[in-house]
Symmetry: C2
């Protein structure tokens, strides 16, 4: 008997599917089609990096009641059979004549009465991970059954983490904390930014990451220009502020936080901006509560910065976190999503230090009834200096 | 002036866009919409790991003539402005009221006459990386303009690599080769498979990978069960065959090949299967030529195995490679794609050693007029033994 490959006991996945089914019932859906890696992992425990290959689509069909059905390429049968889903239907993908279209249409057709509704995520933060032409073909075969938007059904379930999930994210945060502690030594070995990025990723692996799905950062005199660029070979210099940000993965769960380091003593404007970011984060740690909305978190962080003389960045100042590097909601003035107990969130205030130079600070929390509990080890109050 | 962030000179991207425009003209398209990370990088040089966040869509609109327009979230403006595209239009994403829909519709509406056709990839190996609901909204606003499938337009251009691209893939293959050479030492340090995976990824980074987007593998007595599973903590034992497979990335380009190692002397059936895989690969290295089709490559590899008494695996026995871990075509009996000079391909024969136990072998090549040129350092003819 081959070894089981499940991050959690089967009961965790069954609970999730039942929660999805409750949402489907409330929304009048007869089935739910999941195609995105995070949604497939969430429902089944099927964890693989094979998603990196765009060649094949993968489908999970959740019926109104009972266990999900996996409609997947033959190459995934072995791994899926070591998860908890029993009903696994495979085709020899990739097949240019019919790459799962017939099998998926048949599966959903049996599951959903004519005139019934099939939910699939279509809203913000979602993508359909199958060829658009094949989706159209499936929809045509299934008519008069209709596809409808299931974004809210999936998000209301996934956004509240179980304690087992919280522990996974805490473990990812902890290993990243140990890797961040090693950054001064990594910089001392080779101060080129590209080399620091490589050394930091290697440290994350050595500290227990299964893989490193995201590393970004920046470095520049008195702040950096952006936070999404790959590293250049430019060596760090005195006066630079170095920022490293990571989404390290352990058992399929992400951390997502950054740390700043000053190369030599930081200039006063940098120190002031850093102090404001730290204090604004403290405000959010003290004030956030379930029942608030995402826009409230933006207001707390944004005011925390401007009250201390810092200029808040545009864009979001935090977001959800878990099975992907970023999840909804977004801490913007426009996001009305309710903050609920058990949500895992990032607090990510950013400030402009001078024109074109920014500083960003980030922590990961789980929202408890009494307020935020930190999952990332709190950044030091004083900007660490690498000499 | 901020540092440029381009993998190649702007002329390379301009040439690519002109090639896309030639294909668009032949297919009667007035614009091309690109949303996938690989397509955006291919057309613009915009290289970031920020795609890991599903929060925001990114759009490149290629007109029938002239330079492309980037319609992207504000957070990407700095990096995109350091690439070669001049016309960059941003919105403050994520915006739940309108997450780029209006700006994209306006851009394409100005670019395409009423009744015109907008191509976007909809076929095998493609996904639309934007919310399905937003795509429907854009299509509705642009009517009577129609969206049509541009899979072939994009694939016929991307599949033939420039010499500059070949050199990038060669560099990725070379660094992976140096990391594979270190595997015996990695196993000696800690024989648990999970630890071997971590150590191998760290070695890839130390040998020059910018990041490691894919590592998979397997281990088992006399062969492994599948090739897409994450690693368990089980220690390797005498009689196990260990396989490691990687997609390491350098400057945005992938390698994708594997290596096998025997833990202690391999059993005869394993040795025979390995010899057949090696010889079948030699057959393909000798016989593949431009003008053949993908199904010919499958036939050569498959016959090479069965003639030597090995049972070929189902599924594909090789594929394209470049800006993603896997690209079309697929070496199956059904894929009629022409093999063209300049294609970068994997040769990936697999055989069943005994029921449920497989062995897979993989090399990376560029197809020249005279036949394949190896990009990966050729695996040793004898299965390496770790004692």
């Amino acid at each position: 008997m081959a070894e089981r490959s499940l991050v959690f006991p089967a009961a965790e996945y069954r609970r999730r599917c039942e929660a999805l089914q409750a949402g489907m019932a409330a929304a009048g859906m007869d089935a739910l089609l999941l195609t995105a890696p995070a949604d497939v992992f969430y429902a089944t425990g099927f964890l693989t990096r094979f998603w990196e290959s765009p060649a094949r689509p993968w489908f999970i069909a959740v019926p109104a009641a009972g266990d999900p059905v996996a409609v997947i390429p033959e190459i995934g049968r072995d791994l899926m059979s070591r998860c908890w889903v029993q009903d696994i239907r495979c085709w020899p993908a990739p097949d240019p004549r019919d790459d799962g279209v017939g099998l998926l249409a048949e599966t959903l057709g049996d599951m959903v009465p004519a005139g019934g509704r099939i939910g699939t995520p279509m809203g913000l933060e979602t993508h359909l991970r199958m060829p658009l032409g094949d989706y159209a073909a499936v929809a045509e075969r299934l008519a008069p059954r209709a596809f409808v938007d299931a974004t809210a059904v999936v998000q209301r379930v996934r956004e509240v983490k179980s304690e087992a999930e919280v522990e996974k994210i805490r473990a990812a945060c902890a290993l990243a904390g140990r890797a961040f502690d090693r950054v001064p030594g990594i910089v001392a070995r080779d101060p080129r930014l590209s080399s620091v990025f490589r050394g930091f990723q290697a440290a994350l692996l050595e500290e227990g990451a299964d893989w490193v799905s995201y590393t970004a950062g920046g470095a520049g005199q008195g702040g950096y220009g952006d936070v999404i660029s790959p590293a250049m070979d430019t060596p760090l210099e005195a006066g630079d502020i170095l920022m490293l940000d990571t989404g390290a993965v352990r058992d399929g769960y992400f951390c997502d936080y950054d740390r700043n380091f000053a190369i030599g003593p930081p200039a006063d404007p940098v120190r002031r901006a850093h102090d404001a970011l730290f204090a604004a984060t403290d405000d959010a740690l003290a004030q956030l509560r379930p029942g608030m909305i995402a826009a409230d978190a933006h207001r707390i962080l944004s005011r925390g910065l401007s009250q201390r003389g810092a200029a808040p960045l545009g864009g979001r100042l935090g977001h959800g976190l878990g099975v992907t590097l970023t999840e909804w909601p977004s801490f913007t003035p426009l996001d009305m999503t309710e903050l609920r107990e058990g949500m895992v969130l990032t607090l990510e205030p950013g400030a402009e230090v001078s024109p074109g130079k920014i500083l960003v600070h980030e922590e990961n929390i789980v929202l408890r009834a009494s307020g935020p509990e930190l999952l990332s080890p709190r950044a030091p109050a004083d900007l660490p200096v690498i000499r």
